[in-house]
Amino acid sequence: MAKTILAVDDSGSLRQMVSFSLQAAGYNVVQAVDGQDGLNKAKEKTVDLVLTDQNMPIMDGLTLIKNLRGLGSYQKVPILMLTTESSDEMKAKGKAAGANGWLVKPFDPKRLIEVVQKVIG
């Protein structure tokens, strides 16, 4: 059964790029437009992997990750940050919030699929 990935990004073009690429690779993708939307969707359905942008209106990526880790059902779901900020500080923050990894923007679909496959197969 195809795995489901929650893709959270306020940018429609990137969200679409991520979703189309992952769908083409055989995953189900649930899209969310900001952290809050992501959190709501994560509660609505269970997903196998969360990919989230950091800088978003309403709720940013780090807050989303913290919130997700606070939910019983999301304690072990892998979460990757898709971010343009690759500073050590940001990585440390992401790690502290409970992210399992990060993927730096810009990335091409191939790299994204590679990383996702490594994480959830």
Binding site: T46, N55, S86, P109, K118
Partner: protein, 753 residues
Amino acid sequence: MPIDMSQFYEVFFDESEELLAEAERLLLEINIENPDIEELNAIFRAAHSIKGGAATFGMMNMTEITHVLENLLDKIRKHELALTSEHVDAFLAAKDVLKMMVDGHRLGSDVDAKMVADVKMQLSALSEKSGASLSKPAPATAASAPVVGPPPAVEAPAAIAAAPVEVQAAADGLKRFDIELPETSEKDVANLQEELGLLGEVVSAKRADGRYVFTLTTDSTPADIISICSFVFDPDSLVIRDASTPGIPAPEAPAPTPTPTPETESQSRVEIHEEVGYGLFSLPGKENEEEGYGLFAPFTPHPDAIEAGAAAPGDSTTAEPVTPAVTENANPGTNAILENQEKKNLGRRETDKAPASAETTSIRVGIEKVDQLINLVGELVITQAMIEQRSSTLDPVHHEKLINSIGLLTRNTHDLQESVMSIRMMPMDFVFSRFPRMVRDLAGKLNKKVEFVTLGATTELDKGLIERIVDPLTHLVRNSVDHGIETPENRRAAGKDEVGKLTLSAAHKGGSIVIEVTDDGAGLNREKLLAKAQKNGLPVSENMTDSEVHQLIFAPGFSMAEIVTDVSGRGVGMDVVKRNITSMGGMVEIRSALGYGTTISISLPLTLAILDGMSVSLGQNIYVIPLNLIVETMQPKMEDIKTVTNEGLMVHVRGEYLPIIPLYALFKQDTEITHPTEGVLIIIEAEGKKAALFVDTLVGQQQVVIKSLETNFKKIQGVSGATIMGDGSVALILDVPAIIKMGQHNQPQGVHQ
């Protein structure tokens, strides 16, 4: 599988335009002394999102600008830097440049390199001003490389070795790139070397494994290099590295993996390959910097993934570090997966009932599909009208049910037509949103203070009209700022607030939309207008009403500006404004009071697809005349008709003599009514000229659906389109301005006196 990135471009362009418009709106409203943090965040996010998209979709010119912009904004929102009006100006200029770049990518329009350079300079000047607080006043390439890890250790020798070259290259404004080619024939290498030679100086070196490395010194961007190389190689198989800034991989390189310079090649080759090869999961805490991603431990890899990963080429060297992590976490991992799968089954059921998510509430369709739909509905309305007309002769007792059903059909058809028409409707905000910026810039240029207000921005108008109203409206707003609103000194002297108020409003009134540009400026001066008109040789009299006097400003070549400014006032314009609006089937009106201001009111039909027309008959045929171009209709008396030598017949209407244009002669139609006193004269007006169109009779006033004659048949002079009448017959819609022109050259001789 390859994924075509270009499919996302349109979305990215639209998104960028929206973000830019939003950022501009926020910038215009921002309180410079005490900026709202939420607004700053929103502007920052706009720059950030565009940067992310531009980098992903390879639009590097946009990445550079947004990167600098983002840096500055970040400082400001973190209070490291105080916002100044200079910043706002620079940000607005950057917005314009970005918009230009979006258009450049999207429509292939020109990107003004000078403007880009100016803005870049402006931004970097501001960055430098922020002094030490800005850690890296980023050079062009570093700016376009938003994601750069620290240089790996193995790079150190290379960096040192490259240093002298770097200094030299930097002095020339040149950059040095190392281009590592995949295995290929000598011929390809030679070809490519020649091609790259066009960009700059190329040095080729053959490595021990038989692969070539070019060192190119050039002022071109990596994107240029890639585009040249892509004629010969799959760009993904190339490794391009900016050697003039050691340790920073060229951002456009598909695999931002550092390539060793020839000097250190042998020593670092092994590491490089490990880095290129897809290492699975890094050891706890270690990230694959060069890969652009990292996975923190403890991490639960999927069991399948390990096999998949291990099978991938180049994995062998890095597979080892992974194993411990996997072993440690194997059990919790499996549990998590099982747990997930159970939940997923649960989740599935819930999803079915879940409401449509936000991103599915709007869809994007091509305008031609919508037009096709509108066209079909137009046909349906006509068919329905035919059925209705034919059913009117039926006996209502015998056919009661049929007649009821037809009534229902009528209602449904009209509802359908209304809904379909609404698809093409767009909010006026689409036009209005461009004005705050323009007013701000103009007011600044003219040293005036203007408060700009828009009302009714949500009012909807047909897309076609929206696009065509932009130019006239721009002209009117510009005029109001330039000529309407006075300088602060003059306003104070007149006892007014020194800040002038300019209002742009839109509202529905009946079947049309009314757009008004109102200023509280000096107003139109009747005496000056009259004097000026007289000087220009226009027919004027002291008895003219105010409204007639105001209409004078629409006369060609008429300008009220006492000094011609570079903003407006060259006397071209208002007549063009009026002509544009008339051609859209609209009307312009002026209301003005000296000392209190001026309102210019435009009324437009809601849509271009339907026309309010007067149908007239000529012999066997029906013609439709746009109602907004008809001044009046009359049945002339014998004494009103005069013959003027070389001018043909004229009719005397309210003090003026108008040429009579007999439609039957113009269109060479047969009719029994050949003298104006037997038929009807329709006084038409277009482009400031009036004429009396002579037809047989009036048939009635009605809305007609416009069909293009040009696309279905061919262009005919004097006819702007066609429509299908209720009885199924085709009627031609007259092109009034063309008919007035034709009438001037085509005075028939055979009209009976």
